[in-house]
Symmetry: C2
Subunit: 320 residues, 2 copies
Protein backbone atom coordinates (compact mmCIF):
# COMPACT_ATOMS: atom_id res chain seq x y z
CA UNK A 1 0.00 0.00 0.00
CA UNK A 2 2.95 2.35 0.57
CA UNK A 3 6.48 2.00 -0.75
CA UNK A 4 9.20 0.58 1.46
CA UNK A 5 11.02 3.87 2.14
CA UNK A 6 7.76 5.45 3.31
CA UNK A 7 6.95 2.38 5.46
CA UNK A 8 10.37 2.53 7.14
CA UNK A 9 9.99 6.27 7.78
CA UNK A 10 6.60 5.66 9.40
CA UNK A 11 8.00 2.88 11.60
CA UNK A 12 10.90 5.09 12.76
CA UNK A 13 8.61 8.00 13.63
CA UNK A 14 6.22 5.63 15.41
CA UNK A 15 9.06 4.14 17.46
CA UNK A 16 10.34 7.60 18.38
CA UNK A 17 6.89 8.57 19.57
CA UNK A 18 6.75 5.45 21.74
CA UNK A 19 4.18 3.49 19.73
CA UNK A 20 4.40 -0.24 20.12
CA UNK A 21 2.76 -2.85 17.93
CA UNK A 22 -0.58 -3.87 19.41
CA UNK A 23 -0.58 -7.66 19.38
CA UNK A 24 -4.35 -7.78 19.19
CA UNK A 25 -4.72 -5.49 16.18
CA UNK A 26 -1.73 -7.20 14.55
CA UNK A 27 -3.21 -10.59 15.44
CA UNK A 28 -6.49 -9.76 13.69
CA UNK A 29 -4.50 -9.13 10.49
CA UNK A 30 -1.72 -11.73 10.77
CA UNK A 31 -3.16 -14.28 13.24
CA UNK A 32 0.20 -13.95 15.05
CA UNK A 33 0.26 -12.97 18.71
CA UNK A 34 3.43 -14.66 19.93
CA UNK A 35 1.43 -16.45 22.65
CA UNK A 36 0.85 -20.18 23.11
CA UNK A 37 -1.84 -21.44 25.48
CA UNK A 38 -1.01 -24.25 27.90
CA UNK A 39 -3.94 -26.03 29.55
CA UNK A 40 -3.32 -28.20 32.63
CA UNK A 41 -5.78 -30.33 34.65
CA UNK A 42 -4.57 -29.36 38.13
CA UNK A 43 -1.99 -26.74 39.02
CA UNK A 44 -1.67 -28.27 42.51
CA UNK A 45 -0.26 -31.53 41.10
CA UNK A 46 3.48 -30.96 41.65
CA UNK A 47 4.46 -32.50 38.30
CA UNK A 48 2.71 -29.70 36.42
CA UNK A 49 5.10 -26.80 37.25
CA UNK A 50 8.23 -28.63 35.96
CA UNK A 51 6.39 -29.59 32.74
CA UNK A 52 5.26 -25.99 32.23
CA UNK A 53 8.77 -24.71 32.90
CA UNK A 54 10.14 -27.09 30.26
CA UNK A 55 7.58 -25.81 27.75
CA UNK A 56 8.30 -22.16 28.59
CA UNK A 57 12.06 -22.54 28.33
CA UNK A 58 11.98 -23.95 24.80
CA UNK A 59 9.24 -21.63 23.55
CA UNK A 60 10.99 -18.55 24.97
CA UNK A 61 14.09 -19.39 22.91
CA UNK A 62 11.87 -19.18 19.83
CA UNK A 63 10.29 -15.89 20.94
CA UNK A 64 6.95 -17.23 22.20
CA UNK A 65 5.42 -16.63 25.59
CA UNK A 66 3.11 -18.99 27.45
CA UNK A 67 -0.33 -18.21 28.85
CA UNK A 68 -1.20 -20.94 31.34
CA UNK A 69 -4.77 -22.10 32.05
CA UNK A 70 -5.74 -24.34 34.98
CA UNK A 71 -8.85 -26.48 34.44
CA UNK A 72 -8.79 -27.42 38.15
CA UNK A 73 -10.45 -30.80 37.41
CA UNK A 74 -13.55 -29.00 36.08
CA UNK A 75 -14.98 -29.61 32.61
CA UNK A 76 -16.83 -26.30 32.74
CA UNK A 77 -13.58 -24.46 33.57
CA UNK A 78 -11.83 -26.33 30.75
CA UNK A 79 -14.47 -25.21 28.22
CA UNK A 80 -14.19 -21.57 29.34
CA UNK A 81 -10.41 -21.67 28.98
CA UNK A 82 -10.58 -23.26 25.54
CA UNK A 83 -13.09 -20.62 24.47
CA UNK A 84 -10.73 -17.88 25.72
CA UNK A 85 -7.82 -19.46 23.84
CA UNK A 86 -9.94 -19.71 20.68
CA UNK A 87 -11.21 -16.15 20.80
CA UNK A 88 -7.96 -14.48 21.86
CA UNK A 89 -5.38 -14.61 19.08
CA UNK A 90 -3.45 -17.41 20.75
CA UNK A 91 -1.45 -19.30 18.15
CA UNK A 92 -1.54 -22.83 19.47
CA UNK A 93 -2.50 -25.06 22.39
CA UNK A 94 -0.40 -27.48 24.42
CA UNK A 95 -2.66 -29.47 26.71
CA UNK A 96 -2.10 -31.94 29.53
CA UNK A 97 -5.83 -32.05 30.08
CA UNK A 98 -6.78 -34.81 27.67
CA UNK A 99 -9.31 -37.42 28.60
CA UNK A 100 -9.80 -40.39 26.33
CA UNK A 101 -12.53 -38.31 24.76
CA UNK A 102 -10.53 -35.46 23.22
CA UNK A 103 -13.61 -33.67 21.78
CA UNK A 104 -13.33 -30.49 23.92
CA UNK A 105 -10.31 -29.47 21.81
CA UNK A 106 -12.18 -29.91 18.50
CA UNK A 107 -13.04 -26.19 18.16
CA UNK A 108 -9.34 -25.30 18.51
CA UNK A 109 -8.42 -27.83 15.82
CA UNK A 110 -11.27 -26.57 13.63
CA UNK A 111 -9.87 -23.03 13.88
CA UNK A 112 -6.69 -24.33 12.23
CA UNK A 113 -4.48 -23.88 15.28
CA UNK A 114 -1.97 -26.59 16.18
CA UNK A 115 -2.66 -28.71 19.25
CA UNK A 116 0.04 -30.74 21.03
CA UNK A 117 -0.59 -33.12 23.91
CA UNK A 118 1.83 -33.31 26.83
CA UNK A 119 2.02 -36.13 29.40
CA UNK A 120 -1.02 -37.65 27.71
CA UNK A 121 -1.71 -39.37 24.41
CA UNK A 122 -5.01 -39.57 22.55
CA UNK A 123 -6.53 -39.58 19.08
CA UNK A 124 -4.60 -42.66 17.94
CA UNK A 125 -1.66 -40.82 16.41
CA UNK A 126 -3.67 -38.03 14.81
CA UNK A 127 -2.30 -35.52 17.35
CA UNK A 128 1.31 -34.70 18.13
CA UNK A 129 2.16 -35.70 21.68
CA UNK A 130 5.08 -35.92 24.13
CA UNK A 131 4.44 -38.49 26.85
CA UNK A 132 6.18 -40.97 29.13
CA UNK A 133 6.41 -44.68 28.35
CA UNK A 134 3.63 -45.52 30.79
CA UNK A 135 3.89 -49.30 30.44
CA UNK A 136 7.61 -49.17 31.13
CA UNK A 137 6.92 -47.14 34.31
CA UNK A 138 4.92 -50.07 35.67
CA UNK A 139 7.46 -52.65 34.55
CA UNK A 140 10.22 -50.83 36.42
CA UNK A 141 8.08 -50.60 39.58
CA UNK A 142 6.88 -54.21 39.53
CA UNK A 143 10.35 -55.51 38.55
CA UNK A 144 11.86 -53.76 41.58
CA UNK A 145 9.21 -55.20 43.94
CA UNK A 146 9.57 -58.70 42.45
CA UNK A 147 13.34 -58.56 43.04
CA UNK A 148 12.64 -57.73 46.69
CA UNK A 149 10.57 -60.93 46.93
CA UNK A 150 7.09 -59.41 46.77
CA UNK A 151 4.53 -61.82 45.25
CA UNK A 152 1.28 -60.10 46.24
CA UNK A 153 1.41 -56.63 44.80
CA UNK A 154 -1.59 -54.31 44.78
CA UNK A 155 -2.03 -51.51 42.24
CA UNK A 156 -3.82 -48.22 42.82
CA UNK A 157 -4.45 -47.38 39.17
CA UNK A 158 -4.88 -43.89 37.72
CA UNK A 159 -8.26 -42.66 36.50
CA UNK A 160 -9.69 -44.80 33.69
CA UNK A 161 -10.19 -41.81 31.39
CA UNK A 162 -6.49 -40.84 31.38
CA UNK A 163 -3.89 -42.41 29.09
CA UNK A 164 -1.44 -42.55 32.01
CA UNK A 165 -3.96 -44.47 34.13
CA UNK A 166 -4.80 -46.95 31.38
CA UNK A 167 -1.21 -47.38 30.14
CA UNK A 168 0.23 -47.94 33.62
CA UNK A 169 -2.48 -50.50 34.44
CA UNK A 170 -1.75 -52.35 31.19
CA UNK A 171 1.97 -52.25 32.05
CA UNK A 172 1.22 -53.53 35.58
CA UNK A 173 -0.64 -56.58 34.24
CA UNK A 174 2.08 -57.31 31.70
CA UNK A 175 4.81 -56.99 34.32
CA UNK A 176 3.02 -59.49 36.59
CA UNK A 177 3.09 -62.02 33.74
CA UNK A 178 6.75 -61.29 32.94
CA UNK A 179 7.71 -62.00 36.55
CA UNK A 180 5.53 -65.13 36.79
CA UNK A 181 3.15 -63.55 39.31
CA UNK A 182 -0.51 -64.51 39.15
CA UNK A 183 -2.88 -61.61 38.78
CA UNK A 184 -5.38 -63.52 40.93
CA UNK A 185 -2.96 -62.93 43.84
CA UNK A 186 -2.87 -59.26 43.14
CA UNK A 187 -5.48 -56.58 43.44
CA UNK A 188 -6.27 -53.53 41.37
CA UNK A 189 -8.35 -50.56 42.42
CA UNK A 190 -8.99 -47.71 39.99
CA UNK A 191 -8.82 -44.19 41.44
CA UNK A 192 -11.07 -41.37 40.25
CA UNK A 193 -8.45 -38.59 40.44
CA UNK A 194 -4.73 -38.19 40.92
CA UNK A 195 -4.91 -36.82 44.49
CA UNK A 196 -3.62 -37.77 47.95
CA UNK A 197 -7.16 -38.17 49.33
CA UNK A 198 -8.10 -40.51 46.54
CA UNK A 199 -4.93 -42.60 47.12
CA UNK A 200 -5.83 -42.89 50.78
CA UNK A 201 -9.43 -43.86 49.98
CA UNK A 202 -8.35 -46.54 47.47
CA UNK A 203 -5.69 -48.09 49.73
CA UNK A 204 -8.08 -48.06 52.73
CA UNK A 205 -10.63 -49.89 50.59
CA UNK A 206 -8.06 -52.57 49.62
CA UNK A 207 -7.31 -53.09 53.33
CA UNK A 208 -11.01 -53.13 54.27
CA UNK A 209 -11.70 -55.76 51.60
CA UNK A 210 -9.17 -58.04 53.28
CA UNK A 211 -6.88 -58.07 50.23
CA UNK A 212 -3.52 -59.59 51.12
CA UNK A 213 -0.55 -57.65 49.81
CA UNK A 214 3.00 -56.85 50.87
CA UNK A 215 3.48 -54.02 48.38
CA UNK A 216 1.44 -51.34 46.62
CA UNK A 217 2.37 -49.71 43.34
CA UNK A 218 0.45 -46.47 42.85
CA UNK A 219 0.05 -44.87 39.41
CA UNK A 220 1.40 -41.59 40.68
CA UNK A 221 3.17 -40.10 43.70
CA UNK A 222 0.11 -38.30 45.08
CA UNK A 223 -1.78 -41.60 45.17
CA UNK A 224 1.33 -43.22 46.74
CA UNK A 225 1.54 -40.78 49.65
CA UNK A 226 -2.21 -41.25 50.13
CA UNK A 227 -1.32 -44.96 50.60
CA UNK A 228 1.16 -43.93 53.35
CA UNK A 229 -1.77 -42.34 55.19
CA UNK A 230 -4.04 -45.37 54.78
CA UNK A 231 -1.33 -47.76 56.05
CA UNK A 232 -0.53 -45.46 58.94
CA UNK A 233 -4.22 -45.30 59.92
CA UNK A 234 -4.31 -49.08 60.55
CA UNK A 235 -0.86 -49.23 62.18
CA UNK A 236 1.00 -50.77 59.23
CA UNK A 237 4.59 -49.55 58.78
CA UNK A 238 6.12 -48.55 55.45
CA UNK A 239 8.36 -50.25 54.39
CA UNK A 240 8.48 -52.63 57.42
CA UNK A 241 5.01 -54.10 56.70
CA UNK A 242 4.15 -52.85 53.23
CA UNK A 243 6.39 -51.41 50.50
CA UNK A 244 5.08 -48.49 48.45
CA UNK A 245 6.20 -47.40 44.98
CA UNK A 246 4.93 -44.27 43.26
CA UNK A 247 5.36 -42.86 39.78
CA UNK A 248 6.62 -39.42 38.61
CA UNK A 249 9.33 -38.50 41.12
CA UNK A 250 7.60 -35.22 41.84
CA UNK A 251 9.51 -32.52 43.73
CA UNK A 252 10.19 -33.17 47.46
CA UNK A 253 9.50 -36.96 47.38
CA UNK A 254 13.13 -37.45 48.50
CA UNK A 255 12.31 -35.46 51.66
CA UNK A 256 9.24 -37.51 52.61
CA UNK A 257 9.11 -39.86 55.57
CA UNK A 258 9.98 -42.45 54.33
CA UNK A 259 11.62 -41.07 51.16
CA UNK A 260 9.46 -42.41 48.31
CA UNK A 261 10.74 -45.09 45.92
CA UNK A 262 9.30 -44.04 42.58
CA UNK A 263 9.73 -43.99 38.82
CA UNK A 264 11.32 -40.79 37.57
CA UNK A 265 9.79 -39.07 34.58
CA UNK A 266 11.91 -36.18 33.29
CA UNK A 267 9.11 -33.62 33.33
CA UNK A 268 11.28 -30.75 32.13
CA UNK A 269 12.29 -32.83 29.08
CA UNK A 270 8.65 -33.80 28.55
CA UNK A 271 7.67 -30.12 28.45
CA UNK A 272 10.57 -29.18 26.16
CA UNK A 273 9.64 -32.01 23.77
CA UNK A 274 6.02 -30.78 23.62
CA UNK A 275 7.29 -27.26 22.88
CA UNK A 276 9.48 -28.64 20.10
CA UNK A 277 6.44 -30.35 18.53
CA UNK A 278 4.50 -27.08 18.75
CA UNK A 279 7.30 -25.15 17.01
CA UNK A 280 7.38 -27.78 14.25
CA UNK A 281 3.62 -27.46 13.75
CA UNK A 282 3.79 -23.64 13.69
CA UNK A 283 6.61 -23.75 11.13
CA UNK A 284 4.79 -26.22 8.88
CA UNK A 285 1.03 -26.52 9.37
CA UNK A 286 0.97 -29.47 6.95
CA UNK A 287 3.56 -31.52 8.85
CA UNK A 288 2.48 -35.01 9.95
CA UNK A 289 1.70 -35.36 13.68
CA UNK A 290 4.55 -36.89 15.60
CA UNK A 291 4.96 -38.54 19.01
CA UNK A 292 7.93 -38.26 21.37
CA UNK A 293 8.13 -40.92 24.08
CA UNK A 294 10.21 -40.15 27.19
CA UNK A 295 11.82 -43.12 28.89
CA UNK A 296 11.39 -43.35 32.68
CA UNK A 297 13.98 -44.54 35.23
CA UNK A 298 13.61 -46.26 38.61
CA UNK A 299 14.58 -44.27 41.75
CA UNK A 300 15.03 -46.51 44.80
CA UNK A 301 14.57 -44.78 48.16
CA UNK A 302 13.28 -45.75 51.59
CA UNK A 303 9.66 -46.82 51.00
CA UNK A 304 10.53 -50.28 49.63
CA UNK A 305 12.20 -53.22 51.42
CA UNK A 306 12.41 -57.00 51.18
CA UNK A 307 9.00 -58.66 51.35
CA UNK A 308 8.08 -59.83 54.87
CA UNK A 309 8.22 -63.51 53.96
CA UNK A 310 11.54 -62.98 52.18
CA UNK A 311 12.92 -61.31 55.29
CA UNK A 312 11.78 -64.04 57.64
CA UNK A 313 13.29 -66.84 55.54
CA UNK A 314 16.39 -64.87 54.67
CA UNK A 315 19.49 -65.77 56.71
CA UNK A 316 21.64 -63.11 55.12
CA UNK A 317 21.50 -59.32 55.41
CA UNK A 318 17.76 -58.81 55.72
CA UNK A 319 16.69 -55.22 56.05
CA UNK A 320 18.07 -52.38 54.03
CA UNK B 1 -26.90 1.75 14.76
CA UNK B 2 -29.78 -0.71 14.32
CA UNK B 3 -32.99 -0.92 16.34
CA UNK B 4 -33.28 -3.41 19.15
CA UNK B 5 -35.62 -5.83 17.37
CA UNK B 6 -33.24 -6.04 14.43
CA UNK B 7 -30.26 -6.51 16.74
CA UNK B 8 -31.99 -9.35 18.57
CA UNK B 9 -32.91 -11.00 15.27
CA UNK B 10 -29.28 -10.78 14.10
CA UNK B 11 -28.03 -12.29 17.40
CA UNK B 12 -30.50 -15.19 17.14
CA UNK B 13 -29.56 -15.99 13.55
CA UNK B 14 -25.86 -15.73 14.40
CA UNK B 15 -26.29 -18.12 17.35
CA UNK B 16 -28.20 -20.59 15.17
CA UNK B 17 -25.40 -20.51 12.60
CA UNK B 18 -22.86 -21.27 15.35
CA UNK B 19 -21.20 -17.83 15.50
CA UNK B 20 -19.67 -16.95 18.80
CA UNK B 21 -18.51 -13.54 19.94
CA UNK B 22 -14.82 -13.07 19.16
CA UNK B 23 -13.29 -11.79 22.38
CA UNK B 24 -10.53 -10.00 20.49
CA UNK B 25 -12.77 -8.07 18.11
CA UNK B 26 -15.19 -7.39 20.97
CA UNK B 27 -12.24 -6.40 23.16
CA UNK B 28 -11.06 -3.81 20.63
CA UNK B 29 -14.47 -2.14 20.89
CA UNK B 30 -15.36 -2.68 24.53
CA UNK B 31 -11.97 -3.35 26.17
CA UNK B 32 -13.68 -6.36 27.78
CA UNK B 33 -12.21 -9.83 27.23
CA UNK B 34 -13.24 -11.58 30.43
CA UNK B 35 -9.59 -12.49 31.11
CA UNK B 36 -7.38 -11.39 34.01
CA UNK B 37 -3.60 -11.87 33.85
CA UNK B 38 -1.80 -13.31 36.87
CA UNK B 39 1.98 -12.90 36.97
CA UNK B 40 4.04 -15.04 39.36
CA UNK B 41 7.81 -15.03 40.04
CA UNK B 42 8.34 -18.80 40.13
CA UNK B 43 5.80 -21.49 39.34
CA UNK B 44 8.04 -24.06 41.08
CA UNK B 45 7.59 -22.35 44.45
CA UNK B 46 4.86 -24.55 46.00
CA UNK B 47 3.01 -21.60 47.56
CA UNK B 48 2.15 -20.24 44.12
CA UNK B 49 -0.39 -22.89 42.99
CA UNK B 50 -2.64 -22.48 46.06
CA UNK B 51 -2.55 -18.68 45.66
CA UNK B 52 -3.48 -18.98 41.97
CA UNK B 53 -6.26 -21.43 42.79
CA UNK B 54 -7.68 -18.96 45.32
CA UNK B 55 -7.62 -16.21 42.69
CA UNK B 56 -9.22 -18.43 40.03
CA UNK B 57 -12.00 -19.65 42.30
CA UNK B 58 -13.20 -16.15 43.19
CA UNK B 59 -12.79 -14.71 39.67
CA UNK B 60 -14.63 -17.69 38.10
CA UNK B 61 -17.67 -16.93 40.28
CA UNK B 62 -17.71 -13.49 38.69
CA UNK B 63 -17.31 -14.87 35.14
CA UNK B 64 -13.61 -14.12 34.65
CA UNK B 65 -10.95 -16.57 33.60
CA UNK B 66 -7.27 -16.39 34.51
CA UNK B 67 -4.30 -16.42 32.17
CA UNK B 68 -1.23 -17.26 34.22
CA UNK B 69 2.28 -16.00 33.40
CA UNK B 70 5.47 -17.32 35.02
CA UNK B 71 8.40 -14.88 35.15
CA UNK B 72 10.68 -17.73 36.27
CA UNK B 73 12.93 -15.30 38.20
CA UNK B 74 13.78 -13.47 34.95
CA UNK B 75 13.27 -9.74 34.44
CA UNK B 76 13.35 -10.23 30.66
CA UNK B 77 10.61 -12.87 30.86
CA UNK B 78 8.60 -10.57 33.16
CA UNK B 79 8.77 -7.71 30.63
CA UNK B 80 7.65 -9.99 27.77
CA UNK B 81 4.69 -11.22 29.83
CA UNK B 82 3.68 -7.68 30.82
CA UNK B 83 3.88 -6.63 27.17
CA UNK B 84 1.66 -9.59 26.19
CA UNK B 85 -0.85 -8.67 28.91
CA UNK B 86 -0.82 -5.04 27.76
CA UNK B 87 -1.28 -5.82 24.08
CA UNK B 88 -3.83 -8.61 24.44
CA UNK B 89 -7.15 -7.28 25.70
CA UNK B 90 -6.56 -8.55 29.21
CA UNK B 91 -8.63 -6.55 31.65
CA UNK B 92 -6.42 -6.45 34.69
CA UNK B 93 -3.26 -7.75 36.33
CA UNK B 94 -2.76 -9.53 39.64
CA UNK B 95 0.95 -9.86 40.31
CA UNK B 96 3.04 -11.65 42.93
CA UNK B 97 6.15 -10.54 41.11
CA UNK B 98 6.73 -7.21 42.72
CA UNK B 99 10.18 -6.06 43.68
CA UNK B 100 10.58 -2.94 45.76
CA UNK B 101 10.91 -1.16 42.43
CA UNK B 102 7.44 -1.66 40.95
CA UNK B 103 8.23 0.24 37.71
CA UNK B 104 7.82 -2.75 35.34
CA UNK B 105 4.06 -2.55 35.90
CA UNK B 106 3.90 1.17 35.04
CA UNK B 107 2.82 0.54 31.40
CA UNK B 108 -0.10 -1.57 32.62
CA UNK B 109 -1.16 1.18 35.03
CA UNK B 110 -0.71 3.78 32.28
CA UNK B 111 -3.08 1.79 30.04
CA UNK B 112 -5.77 2.32 32.70
CA UNK B 113 -6.03 -1.32 33.72
CA UNK B 114 -6.28 -2.20 37.40
CA UNK B 115 -3.27 -3.81 39.08
CA UNK B 116 -3.51 -5.75 42.35
CA UNK B 117 -0.55 -7.13 44.27
CA UNK B 118 -0.74 -10.53 45.93
CA UNK B 119 1.63 -11.84 48.64
CA UNK B 120 3.62 -8.65 48.18
CA UNK B 121 3.13 -5.01 49.00
CA UNK B 122 4.70 -2.00 47.29
CA UNK B 123 4.01 1.57 46.25
CA UNK B 124 3.25 2.77 49.78
CA UNK B 125 -0.49 2.22 49.65
CA UNK B 126 -1.00 3.50 46.09
CA UNK B 127 -1.74 -0.06 44.89
CA UNK B 128 -4.34 -2.50 46.15
CA UNK B 129 -2.69 -5.51 47.73
CA UNK B 130 -3.49 -8.73 49.63
CA UNK B 131 -0.53 -9.88 51.70
CA UNK B 132 0.40 -11.69 54.89
CA UNK B 133 1.35 -9.89 58.09
CA UNK B 134 5.06 -10.53 57.53
CA UNK B 135 6.23 -9.06 60.84
CA UNK B 136 3.77 -11.22 62.75
CA UNK B 137 5.12 -14.31 60.92
CA UNK B 138 8.54 -13.66 62.44
CA UNK B 139 7.13 -12.88 65.89
CA UNK B 140 5.31 -16.24 65.94
CA UNK B 141 8.46 -18.10 64.85
CA UNK B 142 10.82 -16.34 67.28
CA UNK B 143 8.28 -16.52 70.12
CA UNK B 144 8.03 -20.29 69.69
CA UNK B 145 11.83 -20.70 69.69
CA UNK B 146 12.24 -18.42 72.71
CA UNK B 147 9.70 -20.52 74.63
CA UNK B 148 11.79 -23.60 73.85
CA UNK B 149 14.77 -21.89 75.48
CA UNK B 150 16.65 -20.81 72.36
CA UNK B 151 18.77 -17.68 72.92
CA UNK B 152 20.97 -17.74 69.84
CA UNK B 153 18.67 -17.73 66.84
CA UNK B 154 19.94 -17.26 63.31
CA UNK B 155 17.76 -15.86 60.51
CA UNK B 156 18.03 -16.73 56.83
CA UNK B 157 16.24 -13.66 55.50
CA UNK B 158 14.34 -13.42 52.21
CA UNK B 159 15.69 -11.40 49.28
CA UNK B 160 16.16 -7.71 50.11
CA UNK B 161 14.09 -6.58 47.14
CA UNK B 162 10.92 -8.41 48.28
CA UNK B 163 8.43 -7.02 50.80
CA UNK B 164 8.21 -10.46 52.44
CA UNK B 165 12.00 -10.56 52.92
CA UNK B 166 12.20 -7.05 54.34
CA UNK B 167 9.06 -7.36 56.50
CA UNK B 168 10.05 -10.70 58.02
CA UNK B 169 13.56 -9.41 58.80
CA UNK B 170 12.07 -6.34 60.51
CA UNK B 171 9.73 -8.65 62.46
CA UNK B 172 12.67 -10.87 63.43
CA UNK B 173 14.61 -7.95 64.93
CA UNK B 174 11.56 -6.68 66.75
CA UNK B 175 10.78 -10.15 68.15
CA UNK B 176 14.33 -10.48 69.50
CA UNK B 177 13.84 -7.24 71.46
CA UNK B 178 10.41 -8.34 72.70
CA UNK B 179 11.90 -11.56 74.08
CA UNK B 180 14.93 -9.83 75.59
CA UNK B 181 17.37 -11.49 73.20
CA UNK B 182 20.40 -9.51 72.08
CA UNK B 183 20.74 -9.17 68.34
CA UNK B 184 24.53 -9.34 68.80
CA UNK B 185 24.03 -12.99 69.81
CA UNK B 186 22.06 -13.68 66.68
CA UNK B 187 23.07 -13.75 63.07
CA UNK B 188 21.29 -12.70 59.91
CA UNK B 189 22.16 -13.71 56.38
CA UNK B 190 20.16 -12.37 53.45
CA UNK B 191 19.33 -14.85 50.67
CA UNK B 192 19.21 -13.87 47.01
CA UNK B 193 16.22 -16.03 46.05
CA UNK B 194 13.54 -18.11 47.72
CA UNK B 195 14.98 -21.52 46.76
CA UNK B 196 16.24 -24.66 48.52
CA UNK B 197 19.76 -24.25 47.08
CA UNK B 198 19.96 -20.69 48.35
CA UNK B 199 18.78 -21.80 51.83
CA UNK B 200 21.50 -24.42 51.90
CA UNK B 201 24.16 -21.94 50.74
CA UNK B 202 23.14 -19.37 53.38
CA UNK B 203 23.01 -21.84 56.27
CA UNK B 204 26.34 -23.41 55.23
CA UNK B 205 27.86 -19.94 55.25
CA UNK B 206 26.56 -19.27 58.79
CA UNK B 207 28.15 -22.54 59.91
CA UNK B 208 31.43 -21.81 58.07
CA UNK B 209 31.64 -18.37 59.73
CA UNK B 210 31.58 -20.07 63.12
CA UNK B 211 28.30 -18.42 64.10
CA UNK B 212 26.90 -20.05 67.23
CA UNK B 213 23.19 -20.83 67.07
CA UNK B 214 20.79 -23.46 68.35
CA UNK B 215 17.95 -22.50 66.01
CA UNK B 216 17.41 -21.07 62.54
CA UNK B 217 14.32 -19.22 61.40
CA UNK B 218 14.15 -19.09 57.60
CA UNK B 219 11.98 -16.55 55.78
CA UNK B 220 10.26 -19.29 53.80
CA UNK B 221 9.93 -23.07 53.73
CA UNK B 222 12.17 -23.59 50.69
CA UNK B 223 14.99 -21.78 52.49
CA UNK B 224 14.20 -23.84 55.63
CA UNK B 225 14.56 -27.22 53.90
CA UNK B 226 17.79 -25.93 52.37
CA UNK B 227 18.92 -25.44 56.00
CA UNK B 228 18.08 -29.14 56.65
CA UNK B 229 20.57 -30.02 53.91
CA UNK B 230 23.31 -27.71 55.23
CA UNK B 231 22.95 -29.09 58.78
CA UNK B 232 22.94 -32.66 57.49
CA UNK B 233 26.13 -32.02 55.49
CA UNK B 234 28.07 -31.25 58.67
CA UNK B 235 26.45 -33.99 60.75
CA UNK B 236 24.15 -31.75 62.79
CA UNK B 237 20.74 -33.24 63.61
CA UNK B 238 17.44 -31.39 63.33
CA UNK B 239 15.92 -30.87 65.87
CA UNK B 240 18.43 -32.69 68.19
CA UNK B 241 21.22 -30.14 67.55
CA UNK B 242 19.51 -27.28 65.75
CA UNK B 243 15.81 -26.38 65.51
CA UNK B 244 14.50 -25.07 62.19
CA UNK B 245 11.38 -22.96 61.58
CA UNK B 246 10.12 -22.03 58.13
CA UNK B 247 7.38 -19.74 56.91
CA UNK B 248 4.41 -20.42 54.56
CA UNK B 249 3.34 -23.97 55.42
CA UNK B 250 3.65 -24.98 51.78
CA UNK B 251 2.09 -28.30 50.67
CA UNK B 252 3.84 -31.50 51.87
CA UNK B 253 5.86 -29.88 54.70
CA UNK B 254 3.97 -32.15 57.11
CA UNK B 255 5.43 -35.16 55.26
CA UNK B 256 9.04 -34.02 55.44
CA UNK B 257 11.67 -35.66 57.61
CA UNK B 258 11.45 -34.11 60.14
CA UNK B 259 8.00 -32.55 59.57
CA UNK B 260 8.64 -28.81 59.37
CA UNK B 261 7.55 -26.41 62.10
CA UNK B 262 6.43 -23.34 60.19
CA UNK B 263 4.11 -20.35 60.08
CA UNK B 264 0.94 -21.03 58.11
CA UNK B 265 -0.22 -18.44 55.62
CA UNK B 266 -3.66 -19.19 54.18
CA UNK B 267 -2.61 -18.93 50.54
CA UNK B 268 -6.05 -19.77 49.16
CA UNK B 269 -7.54 -16.91 51.21
CA UNK B 270 -4.70 -14.64 50.08
CA UNK B 271 -5.55 -15.38 46.43
CA UNK B 272 -9.29 -14.96 46.98
CA UNK B 273 -8.69 -11.60 48.69
CA UNK B 274 -6.58 -10.39 45.74
CA UNK B 275 -9.37 -11.47 43.36
CA UNK B 276 -11.89 -9.56 45.47
CA UNK B 277 -9.74 -6.39 45.20
CA UNK B 278 -9.54 -6.90 41.42
CA UNK B 279 -13.33 -7.22 41.12
CA UNK B 280 -13.74 -4.03 43.17
CA UNK B 281 -11.34 -2.17 40.88
CA UNK B 282 -13.08 -3.45 37.74
CA UNK B 283 -16.48 -2.41 39.10
CA UNK B 284 -15.28 1.08 40.06
CA UNK B 285 -12.10 2.30 38.36
CA UNK B 286 -12.08 5.37 40.63
CA UNK B 287 -12.19 3.37 43.89
CA UNK B 288 -9.39 4.06 46.36
CA UNK B 289 -6.70 1.34 46.56
CA UNK B 290 -7.22 -0.95 49.53
CA UNK B 291 -5.02 -3.44 51.41
CA UNK B 292 -6.10 -6.76 52.92
CA UNK B 293 -3.71 -8.24 55.47
CA UNK B 294 -3.96 -11.99 56.15
CA UNK B 295 -3.04 -13.11 59.67
CA UNK B 296 -0.62 -16.07 59.93
CA UNK B 297 -0.72 -18.89 62.50
CA UNK B 298 2.05 -21.02 64.03
CA UNK B 299 2.16 -24.74 63.12
CA UNK B 300 4.37 -26.75 65.48
CA UNK B 301 5.77 -29.99 64.03
CA UNK B 302 8.92 -32.04 64.45
CA UNK B 303 11.73 -29.69 63.40
CA UNK B 304 11.80 -27.73 66.67
CA UNK B 305 12.73 -28.93 70.17
CA UNK B 306 14.01 -27.57 73.46
CA UNK B 307 17.32 -25.75 73.07
CA UNK B 308 20.35 -27.94 73.85
CA UNK B 309 21.28 -26.03 76.98
CA UNK B 310 17.66 -26.10 78.14
CA UNK B 311 17.63 -29.85 77.67
CA UNK B 312 20.85 -30.42 79.58
CA UNK B 313 19.76 -28.35 82.58
CA UNK B 314 16.21 -29.62 82.47
CA UNK B 315 15.43 -32.38 84.97
CA UNK B 316 11.90 -32.89 83.70
CA UNK B 317 10.62 -34.35 80.44
CA UNK B 318 13.32 -33.22 78.07
CA UNK B 319 12.88 -34.24 74.47
CA UNK B 320 9.60 -34.15 72.61
Amino acid sequence: LVNEATANRIIKVAERLGYRPNAVARGLKTRRSGSIGVLVPDLLNPVIPPIVRGIEGRLAEAGYNVLLCNADHSEARERIHLEAIRSHQIEGLITANVHHDASPIDPILASGRPVVLVNRVAGEGTLSAAYPDDELCSELAVGHLAELGHRRIAHVAGPGDTSTGVGRLRGFRRALRVHGLKSADSAVIVSKRYTEDEGKRCCSQLIARGTEFTAVYAANDLLAVGCYDALNDVGLGCPSDVSVVGCNDMPFTDRFSPPLTTVNIAHGRLGAAAAELMLEALADPDAQPRQIVIEPTLVVRGSTALARSARISDAGPACR
